[in-house]
């Protein structure tokens, strides 16, 4: 991993067209501005992890089928 020291307002260039700028530095957080082409997805890393965890949890297979039937009932109740 490349580690760089940067001051407020300073920038980092990644590849040809991605610029990361340090907007402000506060006590325990840094505000970064990221300028990247539209096709480059910029994400908070935890969000992708959260999505993966959610997908893993979603996989409950057959035993959940019965629950779906319960769910159907509950949805119907909600409709009333």
């Amino acid at each position: 991993m490349l580690v760089l020291s940067r001051k407020e307002g300073e920038q980092i260039l990644i590849g040809e067209d991605i610029i990361v700028m340090v907007i402000s530095i506060e006590k325990d957080s840094v505000k970064l501005g990221i300028d990247a082409p539209k096709n480059v997805k910029v994400l908070r890393y935890e969000l992708l992890q959260e999505l993966k965890n959610e997908n893993l949890e979603a996989l409950q297979g057959k035993e959940r089928l019965i629950r779906i039937k319960d769910l159907k009932g509950l949805l119907k109740d909600g409709e009333r």
Partner: protein, 152 residues
Amino acid sequence: MVVQKSVVKSRVFGELEVSEDSIIFFEDGIPAFENLKKFVIVKEDESPFYWLQSVEDKDIAFVLINPFEIKPDYEFDIPDDIVKKLEIESSQDVAVFCIVVISEDVKQTRVNLKAPVIINVNRRKGMQYLLDDERYPIRYYLFENLDPNSQK
């Protein structure tokens, strides 16, 4: 024309006969299951749910729901690069589903509104796309949000 049929083993359905032309190709897989590229969608009888069953791994089957069934005002823009990637030509090509997580306590069942599964039904290409949209949570609790008045 002869449609190639193949049998997919599924933990949920047992053996499932699948025609080649119903297989949806997920080029990037599904986050956490990037290696799985081929899925089929199976409608659950008499319920708003569907299954997204992996063709390659019988144990992998996600429960899906059409988000408009639970949140009629759900909306997002599909960015150009995704339109291109899924070869979407018109809005009629597109089907949107959200992954349902059924909890031990059924009343805690939640729906991932943050990362819809977008499918081009004509080209049979799909992906799970993470929205950059504060309005939609990863965990949308179905029963907390169910408004009896908005349901028919």
